[in-house]
Symmetry: D2
């Protein structure tokens, strides 16, 4: 059995806001002190992480002067250097300040929209300065409770205008940076626009510079709505649009939980890792494995690092299982597709001739219908690999 200890090549990253979360929730105040970002980076390095991500205001306060900003950034860069950590991804906080109480890019107030774009330009500069190659957009307040407040088509247009502006900003500055859009169905708004990774993928296809924009799916966000996370990720991968990923854990139909990766849904996590690691056949995902989660509110600082280590360790345990599952001869036999090359040729691409030939093929629907597919056995094999008894 391998050690499961994280390596730099695993590309494990954490947000400053994840291990730095002080445990505040809607019903109570913090249970842990707020930690200095430099301390968090050093501890993450000790735990074996490769990267650290941040919102602009995780590092630089909303009201910092330019010189405060520069001195904070300088210290942070030194810490990154010392600890051997990288910043693969950065993002903007467009939700904490009350100016964003009704959204940022989709607000009805053009001053708010302009402010949001400007704040993002500055935050992009910061991210690039720190070495980020991916810039995430999570529009958590782009939504409504009183849905009559704007035509939702207007929200789509405003969001597009902002994305087009900002991709052009990046290109104009020759930044080596791509965008990754993150969907969420609700919370903190009753309904958030572009509620799933599917909606985001479509929105991207309508952008000016769509080639530089992909998605950042999050386990918890798709799971809140009860959608299959592996299916959504697969659709993004098939389209070449999985630019980043947020790993955590969540129960369906609940508030945003951001639990330790693998803790609530180990089977789904295994299915996901088969995709990401390419053990089930397709291409492997080569980007960061980012844990967007936080320790339970019951924990002190030591518990935070237990949490961080647990995320990475469970990933590596499940990676080993994914490899073993897909190498299992009984599994391979059960999921081997039927082959019928002659027939497949007819349907692979349309021609009048293929259509005509297809109409003459003898296909015995009743006989096919009678055949059992062995999926109970297949799923039981997955469970037994998961439980480590095979």
């Amino acid at each position: 059995m391998s050690s499961y200890a994280p390596e730099k090549t695993d590309l494990f990253s954490f947000g400053l806001w994840t291990v730095g979360n002080p445990g505040r929730d809607p019903f109570g105040g913090p249970t842990r002190p707020v930690q200095n970002p430099n301390h968090l980076v050093r501890k993450l390095a000790e735990c074996g992480a490769w990267g650290v991500n941040l919102h602009d205001n995780d590092l630089v306060p909303f009201d910092a002067s330019a010189s405060e900003r520069d001195s904070i950034v300088a210290e942070f860069k030194a810490t990154l250097e010392d600890s051997g950590m990288v910043v693969p991804m950065a993002t903007t906080n467009l939700f904490s300040h009350p100016v964003f109480k009704d959204g940022a890019f989709t607000s009805n107030d053009p001053k708010v929209r302009a402010f949001a774009i400007r704040k993002t330009m500055d935050a992009i500069d910061l991210g690039v300065e720190l070495g980020a190659k991916t810039y995430v957009f999570w529009g958590g307040r782009e939504g409504t409770e009183a849905d009559a407040c704007r035509d939702p088509r207007t929200a789509v247009k405003r969001q597009r205008e902002a994305m087009n502006f900002l991709t052009s900003y990046v290109k104009d500055n020759s930044y080596d940076l791509c965008f990754a859009l993150e969907a969420k169905p609700n919370e903190p708004r009753s309904d958030i626009y572009f509620s799933t990774t599917g909606h985001m993928l479509h929105f991207i296809s309508t952008l000016e510079h769509e080639e530089m924009v992909g998605v950042n799916p999050e386990v918890a966000h798709e799971t809140m709505a009860g959608l299959s996370f592996p299916h959504g990720v697969a659709q993004a991968m098939e389209a070449g649009k999985l630019f980043h990923i947020d790993l955590n854990s969540q129960k369906i139909g609940r508030y945003d939980q951001d639990l330790r990766f693998g803790s609530e849904d180990p089977k789904q996590a295994l299915l996901l890792i088969r995709l990401l690691e390419g053990t089930c056949g397709g291409e492997r995902y080569s980007g960061p494995r980012h844990f967007d989660a936080h320790a339970y509110r019951s924990e002190d600082e030591e518990g935070v690092w237990d949490f961080a280590r647990g995320c990475m360790r469970t990933y590596n345990i499940l990676k080993e299982k994914a490899q073993a599952f897909d190498a299992d001869p009984e599994v391979r036999e059960l999921i081997a597709s039927e082959q019928d090359e002659a027939l497949e040729q007819l349907t692979r691409s349309y021609s009048s001739e293929n259509a005509a030939a297809l109409r003459t093929q003898k296909i015995d629907a009743s006989a096919i219908a009678r055949k059992g597919l062995g999926y109970e056995r297949l799923d039981q094999l997955m469970i037994e690999h998961l439980l480590g008894v095979r």
Copy 2:
């Protein structure tokens, strides 16, 4: 107060399978006799409907011979003519026969995939013969329980191959027909591919003939996952992709209920109708208003027609309310957006100059943050219009 009686110009349609539903469910057999399709058409006409939609096997049995098929179709066309009804939409039953137990276009068995494509070609011919202009695809069995059975990326590719084949078939035959794809998150499969209208919209953007493919969102299907139906429809409309719509009612997080339109979620129905009827400002949807719902299992045939009349009447009641709401001066004032043309010019499209100018604008975030938005009042006005007390 208007009569709310349906007119042909309302474009109200019902599926044969909706008013013909005999009341079977997973725990019990039918409670009503199966009705002859010609009878259903005549009764729908009496109730004031404009159109009737069908799956191939709603009209022509799975095992019918060619001559049986022709005689059935001839009688049905006569009935349509007599009763003044049209067939605006047709679709394929790719889910009832056990050959489709693990999907149709995405099955691991190439014989099943070929059979599904062929069955769809035949059903398209039937639909076109009956005058249909829209062809709906609902891939209800394209999904999994034992998710290891195939790489979900393979499912995407197979679905695309089938769509490309069939759009080409339509073009090759010079049919005047567009496709409308319908998403559903689960049931009868534990997880269905392309789980939401968003996922479908993106998938369409990857098709060979994407210009002839749009979506057919269904209230119940998006609501099962707790997503905002108006937001999903708005995204489709903004992209010019709302080709058809399935109206019904549903509680979140339950089995597929297909309840009478407006019966469980009148406020959401009002928000939807504002979009469809264009009262909130954008373009109006000009296609069929299709009710994909069925009467409670407690009803006899008279109850079925109560149900059908109720769907149409509630639509027209809410349409009147949508107009009144959007004409209400207090509403108009509350949702009037702030204007700041100078600032909007800067963010409308990117240039280095605009970006530089944006950085120098004075925007007082704290002052903006303090302003109340009046959304409680706005939403209360909507409730009072809805309840008929304003």
Copy 3:
């Protein structure tokens, strides 16, 4: 049409924490200033409310000295007197301070349990001093994320021990006070013990002084789990256990929303009011109509009072509709039960003779099965009353 203006006899009450909510959420800070409790009481009185409820720490800070407490309470009593407001209900804040991060009465730490009981005794004293007749227990942190941390049966026993201690405390002090227990399925804990009103009702039946303990069901809490709120309330009423009620609005399967009463689910609100007001036949609920909700985060103080007025107004609008619906002759006919007194006598109570006679009755199941029940018509009538078009 009546004015729907609130009257004292409507028994409308609000929590200090509801209209005093400053708009903080998990992703952002307050959007409104914290208001002085005395100001809130005066404004509530102006809006037409009858009562105001509170947690101990809504009025008296956690760390207040005895003399600070007394001076705060004296001023508050004067304000109540001046404004003609009463305090019908009080409760304890056992969730904000980090000492309660893993629960209060069910904590693994006996010091926490003791502290929670003592804090509750003090808060009961405060509530009684202010005139409260009902004492609510919401055990929002009595739950788990890492469910292995304790045997859930131990949690039940500890909760019972606390309830038995505190009911005895009330009796020993001859307080005229009953307890109302409030269930919630999750948030802020992943799973909260006694997750529904049903679980609470059962728990009460195991208490030492069960006669003085009832339930306080909350719309949002049952709705989060997708349960029928009217059904849960009805079961409590039938058992004589509806001691208090928390009115608000919520979408299924989401974070705790606490929206304006009637705003998301007007049909369910109407069904609820039929029960509470007794228009559907049973006994009327005579206790406070408490709104446990808060204004959207987008609102300033004026929006808060819009919200408060909206809650009360919608209640009175729906009350009028409930009366009209249940007086509608067509409704009465549709829901009139079949009568068969001879048969009903046989099943009303068991005897060998009744059982034997029952076995000889001729009952034609097929004939009964064929009869339509008219429920589509009935439900459409409810929708038309709701929408004000009948």
Copy 4:
């Protein structure tokens, strides 16, 4: 590593309707032939099951004559004897025949109520004849779509009348039989009365012969509503009311899935088995481990037995893990409760003296609040036991 092969002492049982399920669903017909009950019993015996359960009509058709019934029962008893199988539980089908389309015991029609009671008396006789010790009531159609159709309090009263009648019938016949009531929130009705195990437990406390009535919680039914199944079961066990249990698997917020035990939620299954097997400290459940699940529709008969074997094997795998987890010294240390006997004495039972003494105790809330609880580590240990890497 043990063999995990089922033993008679494991008390594993299956319903005839589970392994006999032919794969029909709302969107398609059967995919497998209906099997003879005697065949099913013999195959279950081969698979290692101990018991088989049944609805009356799983064995005896609805319209069977008395002599047909007797001959069917005689053959079935011979098969049980031959195969060494027992019938631990029986129940009534009060949902398939259309006479029950609006419920059985709660129907508005007294003829339906009488018919349901009589059918149940006959089915109880059948169950007792076959040796059943537990009689299950699942009132799947006792609910509504058009909720105005009856006062839900009337439904409670009618259900109670039926239960009181039937418990008396059992006593009058001196049957050695207890009742186990099974809750479900929805499906096939939009809302079912007594929606959760909690509601059922309370209802039982209002019955005439409550001592002979307990609950039959089902994994899928509580999970549909997103409730913690272990918590509900624990409350029932603590009250001595866990009389039977239905094991299967389910995703939250979906149609009733009845999946193979342990297949979707292995962590929750482990938490459950800790309770049932008493490894976490409390009393062990001594009744049948009943699998109320069925094979995927994709399976032929061989797949059905794969399914049945998988249910039992996964139970035994998780049972071993439960024992190992609760014996793990690090786990034991993490969940050892704090002790403070002096303080616990004060709160264990009320007296004026205890209350007074409690008020003088020094408890440092801030110091307690600072202590981390180690729950991230505890939960990670559970995951590692589950995954078999510890």
